[in-house]
Amino acid sequence: MDEIKKTVRKFIMEEFLPGEDPNELADSTPLITGGILDSIATLKLVAYLEEEYRIEIAAHEADTENLNTIDSIARLVQSKRKSG
């Protein structure tokens, strides 16, 4: 889990928060409701996760519930890898 969180945090920092202090991005920071990920950024994130972890995320799973925090993203990836 920690490894996934680290990878996801790095991707979000580089793509959507360039120049931000990494310490500001907590595992529980709201990403979608907090204005960090808009709809296009969310698609990019999903494409990245699918590629990086060789998983498939269905359209209905790419929602605020699963993608709003690094915590929930890591849980989604973890569950996909187990079932895959």
Partner: protein
């Protein structure tokens, strides 16, 4: 058709000719015929009248895309009032500002927005009548809301209003450079002349099925809403969630057998990149229209590769004119082409001119501002007489020209090429964004002392928005905090991509923010 027809008369004609055809079908499968839409909008008209709405008033629509929202538009028009749609996804304070700004007599609001809206309207001292529609569950809530209101007291039956063709039909609020959205006032004549031009070029029939991807506060929706009804065709409103989800959208276009698609290029780019279009056949699709921003040729070529059959049109025009020029994309896009296609030449209900800095029309090929005159030009900005006056120039023969603010050049085939803007407005995902409105929102943050916002070209997304800030005291808010704050105060498409806090902003010799220097900042 005479150009003096009213928008709600289009509906009456469709009902008379094709009462049993589907008028509106939503993305979940609920549908309503023309005859049913007629009865429902009659009931809404009567209820709005009972609430005090009279010809010349404004009525707000604060609903998600739905059959109810389409019915709300026609119900309002039948009273002789103008409809004012707000973005259900935008911050409620911004929407309350809009509804208060044009002093709506009533608001038709989804129940999930009602409480927050009442609180904000209260703060502004506004008290329009509220017609709330349940938003839980699926299907239509408007008939139930009207039944409920009838139980207290039945609304007396009335007839459709017949306002003059130059009366306001709707007000669309766009981003305003001073920090507040501004209302573009459009009349029945403006919209009906536009619909007549669309009929002439796209030749729709009652067998067509038109998408409505654009939100109702976005001027693209005017074509969808009124062209469909003009031809008794079917309108397919696409909900906000599916609308931004390329995979579900691709399936919907195929399954709903859409024949005429219209959206901003950015959503077509997303469909191309993430929609899996090769998995969804679209044999019915015959026309693809796009407008609102430049469509990068790379993505347009890829889309045409996946959807080869339809004709493609680039429609151009600010909200103030809706579409005033158009260009049909050639069947083959050369592999080496990278330059965007032109915005084309004037539609038949418009005349255009290219005017140089000296106020004169230059020779063909010289850069200048595009001016437009014709039946499609707006009435003005709501309650902003100075800004309205500045938008127009009257020539010696008394023709009122609208200054678009867009710089164009005419190529040797008579088509206009878009060059840039005169001011600080940019397009993001098809939406107008005044960089000044973003600055004004950032100034509301308690730690922010100075804010300067610039737009930078981006090959992927078209434009990136970058904000530079200085702060009071030693406390520097993080980018995450500033993005959250922006999202609370602006529609999401206006949230800057990057926010940088610095010690000071560069200044010109006259002490103004040096935007050129900021643009060169790495």
């Amino acid at each position: 058709m005479k150009s003096t027809t009213l928008l709600h008369e289009l509906l009456e004609r469709a009902i008379a000719a094709h009462p049993d055809r589907t008028a509106v079908e939503d993305d979940a499968g609920a549908a309503i015929t023309y005859a049913e839409l007629g009865r429902l909008t009659d009931r809404l008209r009567d209820r709005l009248r009972a609430l005090g709405v009279a010809p010349g008033d404004r009525v707000g629509i604060y609903l998600r895309k739905s059959i109810d929202a389409v019915a709300a538009i026609y119900g309002i028009l039948k009273t002789g009032a103008a409809y004012v749609p707000v973005d259900p996804l935008a911050p409620v304070a911004r929407n309350a500002f809009i509804l208060n700004d044009c002093s709506v007599k009533a608001v038709i609001v989804g129940a999930s927005f009602e409480g927050a809206l009442r609180t904000e309207l209260d703060r502004l001292g506004a008290a329009p009548r509220i017609l709330a529609l349940a938003t839980a569950g699926s299907g239509m809530a408007l008939p139930a809301a009207l039944d409920e209101a009838d139980r207290a007291s039945t609304a007396p039956a009335t007839t459709d209003a017949a306002p003059a063709p130059d009366s306001l039909a709707y007000i669309l609020y766009t981003s305003g450079s001073t920090g507040n959205p501004k209302g573009v006032m459009l009349s029945h004549r403006n919209a009906v002349s536009y619909v007549a031009w669309c009929s002439e070029v796209f030749r729709p029939t009652h067998d067509d099925r038109l998408s409505n991807h654009a939100p109702l506060h976005f001027d693209l929706s005017i074509l969808d809403l009124f062209l469909a009804v003009r031809h008794a065709a079917a309108l397919i409103p696409i909900g906000e969630e599916i609308g931004k989800d390329p995979a579900r959208l691709a399936r919907l276009i195929s399954e709903k057998r859409i024949t005429i698609w219209y959206s901003a290029p950015s959503i077509l780019t997303l469909l191309t990149q993430y929609g899996g279009l090769d998995r969804h056949a679209v044999p019915s699709l015959r026309i693809v229209l796009f407008a609102g921003e430049v469509f990068p040729v790379k993505h347009l070529r890829a889309l045409k590769g996946l959807w080869p059959a339809p004709r493609y049109f680039n429609l151009y025009g600010p909200t103030e004119t809706n579409v005033c020029t158009y260009f049909e994309v050639p069947a083959e896009i050369p592999a080496e082409r990278t330059a965007p296609y032109p915005i084309g030449a004037a539609c038949s209900h418009f005349r255009t001119r290219v005017v140089g800095d000296d106020g004169r029309e230059g020779p063909r090929g010289s850069e200048g501002e595009l001016w437009a005159a014709g039946d499609g030009v707006m009435q003005g900005y709501w309650n902003l007489p100075d800004e309205s006056a500045r938008a127009f120039v009257e020539d010696a023969s008394g023709v009122r020209w609208y200054r678009t603010g867009d710089i164009v050049v005419e190529d040797d085939t008579g088509d206009f090429l878009f060059v840039g803007r005169r001011d600080r407005m940019v397009k993001r995902r098809g939406y107008r964004v005044e960089l000044g409105e973003i600055e004004a929102a950032l100034y509301k943050h308690p730690d922010v002392e100075e804010a300067a916002v610039i737009a930078l070209p981006d090959s992927e997304s078209g434009v990136r928005i970058r904000a530079f800030l200085t702060c009071r005291g030693r406390k520097r808010p993080s980018m995450i905090e500033l993005k959250r704050f922006s999202a609370e105060n602006l529609p999401l498409y206006m949230v800057p991509d990057v926010l940088t806090v610095t010690d000071s902003l560069p200044k010109t010799s006259t002490g103004k923010t040096d935007y050129q220097k900021l643009k060169a900042t790495p």
